[in-house]
Amino acid sequence: MKNWTLFFALIFGVFNVSIGQEISLDDLMGDINSEEVEPAYLPEKMLFTQRMLWGENGLYRKVGFAPKELTAESRQRELKARRTMFKIHQATGFLAAAGMIGQAILGPKLYKDGTNFDVRKAHKGVALGTNIAYGTTALMALASPPPMVNRKKFDNIKLHKLMAITHFTGMIATNILAQKASAGKVDKKWHRAAAVGTFVVYTASIVTIKLEF
């Protein structure tokens, strides 16, 4: 009986000491760090072209252009590539805008005097430059690796993308109508209307970057 009493006295004493110990910073950090979860490297939502190229089973991963297995390091490299492509997207986007402004000056001159071959040549040359700059801008957006986050909420970037569909269609229409007008199959006014409409939407899509909502 006495032995049991001694045993319990000792155990109870030790237990009391242990529960009365100070809470240390390490204890707090242990609590905080116990909830670590592996982050998702790809967003749930991404552009169809990005999913096709950079998705978990995307083309680039199949052909070995991008790592098959996503790791923090490989995804960080993809984000760096995305940043570079984004900078090119911005630069060529502004070049395309400059080209459109140039066409806005050259176009009316050509309407006034259709026989001025210098203006016609310049109009064609600037059109080619604008198309190349525009195409590069679109390629950089469509073929870039996906961002880390892509929330469902509608924001100015989503509007920017929606407008891109409109001005992309406008660019195709402007080019087709230019060919047809040149061949005398349609009135030039339709080419001009498509070009002006495209320019307006394109400029508005640049402005959306500044507007936050």
Binding site: L6, G20, M29, E73, R151
Partner: protein, 183 residues
């Protein structure tokens, strides 16, 4: 021998009851009512980003009604500025895949009235630096709140300010917080 063991048990019991009464307790910030955000200034527009995925935990002394230790951890990818592209850019800039969290820990908390100064360490972008945060403590019946703001110079932690349209943001990240602990 038996008497010695008995004496030891009694001493341990009494000692622990007298010197370590549970006046200090662990308190956890309620993420539902607490706020944690940062603001960045860019020449085109300034913005704020809010996180709801952070851990704030501390040791509260019920006798002195003061916090004695505090630890806060926030996941970089949890901030929402209302623009996915921008948040993604920030994640990339601060290499959040490599360094997913920002933590602040302090064991040296001093009070002057309701103003609390926490001297500790800030871990950001994988770099640890001594850091001081000043806040204001308010105590109600069952909630202790600490609020305040501070600036972090991102270049001090090896982070290049993110840029848009060829223009960089300010180097200063303006952080503000309001932690509410149930006591």
């Amino acid at each position: 021998m038996k008497k010695s063991i008995l004496a030891l048990g009694v001493i341990l019991c009494l000692g622990s009851f007298v010197s370590n009464m549970p006046v200090k307790k662990k308190v956890i910030a309620d993420t539902g009512s607490s706020t944690f955000m940062y603001a960045l200034h860019h020449p085109l527009h300034s913005f704020e980003a809010v996180s709801k995925n952070f851990n704030g935990i501390g040791v509260y002394n019920e006798d002195s009604k003061k916090m004695e230790i505090i630890a806060v951890k926030v996941a970089v990818n949890s901030f929402d500025s209302g623009n996915s592209n921008r948040d993604s850019h920030v994640i990339e800039t601060v290499e959040a895949l490599k360094y997913p969290n920002v933590t602040f820990t302090a064991e040296e908390l001093s009070y002057v009235g309701d103003k609390v100064t926490a001297k500790g360490k800030l871990v950001f972008h994988g770099q640890t630096k001594p850091f001081t945060v000043v806040g204001v403590q308010k105590l109600s019946k069952s909630v202790l709140s600490i609020s305040g703001d501070f600036d972090v110079n991102m270049t001090d932690f090896g982070v290049e300010p993110p840029s848009l349209m060829g223009m960089s943001t300010d180097e200063e990240i303006k952080v503000s917080f309001n932690f509410k602990f149930k006591i």
